[in-house]
Amino acid sequence: MKLLSLNIINFGNLNGYTYDFNENIASFCEKNGYGKSTLVAFIKSMFYGMETFKKNSASFLDREHYYPFTGGVFGGNLIFEYQGHTYRIERTFDQKSETNDILTVYKDNELTEELGNVPGETIFGISKESFERLIIINSDKIEIQSTTDVSSKLNNYAANVSDDFDIDKVLKKAKDLKKVESEKSKEIKKQISELKTDISNLENIKSSLDGKYKSLNEAEKNYQTASRIYKESMEKGIVVEQWKQYDSLNNECKSLKERIDSILNRYKNGLPTIDEINQVKESNQKIKIDNASLERGSISPKEESEYNSLLSKYESYLPTKEEVAVVEEKINKLNRLNEDKTEIVNKEKSTEEKALESHFYNKKIEEEEINNIQTKVDEYRGLVDELSNINPNIEKTTKENKKPVNKLYVISLILFIIMLGAGIGLIFVNLILGIILSAIGGLGSIALLILILTSQNKEPKTIVESIPNEEYENKKKDIDKKKQEILILLARYQYVDGDINDLFNQFKNDANRYNAILEENNKNINKVNELENEINELDEEISLFFNKLGFPSMSFDKALSTLKEELSRLDILKGIVNNASLNKEQVKNNIKSEQEKVDAFYKKYLLDKSTPIEDIEKDINDLNRLNNEYSDKVKARDDYKEKNGLTDRVAFDESVDTDTLKENETNSYNDYKVIKDELDKLEEQVADLDDLKSKLDRLIEEKQTADEMATLYENVSNEIKKADASLTNKYVAPIKDRFVYYADLLEKVIGEKVHMDRDFKVMFDHEGILRKSDHLSSGILTICALCFRLALLDNMFEKDNIFIIMDDPFITLDEEHFIKAKALVGELAKNKQILYLTCHQSRRI
């Protein structure tokens, strides 16, 4: 490898600059600012290019540094010989971006791509940074204070790494990373173990759920059965009651029917009409009058007086028979209404009603009041539930304070120190005694110090104690307060002494029952009012009727009876008066004629003549009324049946007590609830199982990663160590050999025979004795370091004898050493191309 020429078009402050490397040593001695560094940078950039300009970069990059102030094409070319061929690298650079740079490489004047995008890496096998460190030698880079630096820098020279690269730091970093991962793995392992225990516990709980689910299902079935039986019983009871009611209605119908049939049985040949009955009644009346006329012949003065009196009484208003019948009906109705009213008014209060009255003071309990207490009871129950979820006690963890240093230890320590001091003093007087005393004092002091330090380094104990849970206590207080509020409210109604839930339930049931009774009573009061209104209306109508007739005040029944009697008497007296003008025969004929009509009537209906027509009339009227009643009753009965959907009668055991069934239902529900509550709590614990398992999966994965990473860092560390050893081994012997070569040169120029051992330690032979390099001057050491570098380069670039660039390397040497170094460079230049750059005439070669 040999540089042949370079041509700079524009690069920093150099433009149109050409240089031919004719000699093996190209020496540039120019003042600062001439462009020595630019020349070096140009060669470097031809091989390696330049980094893209970065706006925010802290460092001043080459592209920015060497961009020509005057503008124009930024770049040039470099011609060199490599592996028997002539290469020309042409490059132009963009002001900012590497991507806009143009690189062209010619091999023996033919375009070639065999050197790739970075020819420097292809040719030298090292990075741009290593090129700077290895090929370019300046005073800083070879100035070293001892040869130990030389060996430590071997890697820096050989490795493609930064200047401050330190293999030990890399290995330490790998070790630290491995430690972090190992500790993480260890910590996770601990967590996994704890987690597995928790999971195992929960799995045990979960497996115990089987039996509980079975019990729950059984309890649920029991509850459903008890509930069904109770409901069926209640439903059956209701149906049975409905059938009873139906039967009662039906019996009434039957009774009416029997009465109807009993009347109808008396009228085998059909029923006489009212007109027929009235005609018979009229005939009877006529017969009665005519017979009276026949018996008396003429009206007596007394009868006449009675007749006139009655005529006078009913002169202004004589009611017809129909009007009398209407009044009679009204009086009957009035009597019935009064009976109904009396029945309601006189109804006695039940024992239950009396008992409830004493609780509620005859007052309705408003819904709002019940709801208000209900809300408080619900709140109370909520608080009780919350309390059951709070632990009565909590665990408090505290750390024991560090114990102060035991005074006895301190005093003993002081005594031993005094003994040590005394022993040392005694040595000068009595050696043996002094040593013994010192030894006892010393050993005692050390032992006590260890004792004190150990006791102080002990971790304070963690104390776990169970203390009452404040939240639990507060909740209890809230419950007591709420309970007191409820008890005060219930006490108003005399519900005291007992479980709050039982008391409230009793209160609520009683209040609802009493409200229902009060409602029923109100209905009855309304009914009585309605009856009274109707009674008053009838009373008024009937009174008006009798007032119109001038009847004195008397009962309606009596007034009606008097009226009917007087009207009948008036009819008879009127007949006697009318018959007075007729002869007896005519009267008898009239009687006969009327009697025939009456007889025909009885014959027609096959009735016994002894049956009074009034009875028959009553039968017919009764029959009409009974028929109406019967048809109403039948309708009511059928409606009731339809309304309640009564189809089939159900078998019902009257001995079954629904209260007991209800109690069974409640008990079985409570049994079910106890198991369910217990299961809810267990399930709540088991619910965490999935999350714990997920966490376990995650931890196992994390542990695996940590283990893998720890192994990876271990492997990385081992491989770096191997690489380092290999690199060292690769270069040690050859470098040593080449160093001997340069040492021979050194001997020539400095008169000292320098040796290097396997660890690159430099020693020199002084009068037949090998001495450490420490005895060498710094100037000689610098020259040794240069030799070492050259030896390294020779080995790294064995096949291609690479050029070196010396950028004022000897600036710090004194004159004596510079002369020696100059001689050395002269020797070197015989076999190696050197670019020697200096800005000092005194350092010119």
Binding site: G125, S162, L177, Y213, E220, K221, D680, S694, Y713
Partner: protein
């Protein structure tokens, strides 16, 4: 008549371990909520029957609260019949309500059939004792529309939770409603019938990616089926090849391109793959931070490799060259391990950040 075919609801299920705890709890609620929404959908669309082809519950012993939720949903919708065939996850009961009129069940002893007009819906639960023999018990009236429920994967062999579709050919099945496989899938049984897996209603982890929902059947003289995507959110697995990306900007743009059509409410698993330059500094955390506020949840796995090739270091005279050659020459490691060692080692030597 309209029928819904759903399966694998997995109420009370374990949720993906990579989700944070609060998200796990929320996801469980979402599964319950989606089941309720499906029932509401059924009500609104005049669906008469909901077929549940197994694994309504997730565990062997479902929690009472999950069972109560299910039973309450069924009881609150008496106009819909729920035909519930137990799967491998809910075959072992815990708390059971037995007397819900519109909850109709199947058993493993005999084939049970429920009829609706001209439609017969039959099914049998598969257990160790019957997984081979139940095929011969299927004798359907071929004059009617036959829907059959089973729970198991389609398979070429006989086995528990395995269904040989070919053994169900020519039995008169018009539609085979299946559960067990957690994604929608359908196929042909014979010239008459088709089979379908409805998949689950909600994905629960990164092994249940893609659209989830149920199948709506419209049955008249034939069975028409439509898959209805219905999940609250979808889980996606996205593979992003970062080969050639040298920096985070480039990587982000590739990620953006891969997720551009994904809804912000969805859950993403992003697998970064490809070979990166050895000096590329792209980590899973960088991508996660970049995406985490844009989606409901994002999990990023970095499976990229820094491909370090031996030929690039043959002439490298440095420690790195020595290191690369040494690792390549070693017989202790497989290729993947070698790449990991090389990538980590070079980063350490060049003092760059090492990603776990």
């Amino acid at each position: 008549m309209k029928i819904i075919h759903a399966a694998d609801i997995h109420l009370g299920s374990k949720i993906e371990s990579k989700f944070p705890l609060e998200m796990t709890l929320k996801r469980r609620k979402e599964i319950l909520d989606t089941f309720s929404r499906m029932v509401s959908f059924a009500k609104e669309n005049d669906v008469k029957v909901i077929l549940l082809a197994g694994d309504v519950f997730d565990k062997d012993k479902p929690a009472i609260k999950d069972k109560e939720f299910f039973y309450k949903t069924v009881k609150n919708n008496p106009e819909i019949d729920f035909l519930y065939l137990k799967g491998n996850h809910d075959i072992e009961g815990s708390y059971e309500e037995t007397s819900i009129p519109n909850l109709k069940t199947f058993n493993s002893g005999e084939i049970s059939t429920y009829s609706y007009g001209n439609i017969d819906i039959s099914g049998i639960e598969m257990v160790n004792e019957n997984y081979r023999s139940f095929y011969s018990k299927i004798m359907l009236n071929k004059e009617r529309i036959n829907i059959f429920l089973l729970h198991g994967d389609d398979s070429n062999t006989f086995g528990l939770n395995k269904i040989r579709i070919d053994s169900l050919a020519n039995k008169g099945i018009d539609y085979l409603a299946l559960g067990h496989y957690h994604s929608y899938k359908e196929g042909k049984i014979d010239s008459r019938g088709r089979y379908a897996f409805s998949g689950c209603l909600e994905g629960r982890g990164f092994d249940e990616c893609g659209e989830k929902g149920f199948i709506l059947l419209d049955v008249d003289k034939e069975v028409k089926s439509t898959f209805i995507p219905f999940s609250r959110r979808t889980i996606h697995e996205v593979i992003v090849d970062l080969t050639g990306s040298s920096d985070l900007v480039d990587a982000k743009s590739k990620v953006d391109l891969s997720i551009k059509d994904i809804d912000k409410d969805d859950i993403l698993l992003i697998n970064l793959i490809g070979n990166l330059p050895v000096n590329a500094e792209i980590t899973a955390d960088d991508i996660k931070v970049y995406l985490e506020n844009r989606f409901y949840f994002v999990y990023v796995k970095n499976k990229t490799n820094s491909l370090i090739r031996l030929e690039d270091y043959v002439n490298d005279k440095s420690l790195i060259g020595e290191f690369v050659r040494g690792v390549y020459a070693s017989e202790e490691y497989d290729e993947e391990t070698k790449q990991k060692i090389l990538s980590t080692g070079i980063k350490l030597i060049t003092k760059r950040e090492v990603e776990r």
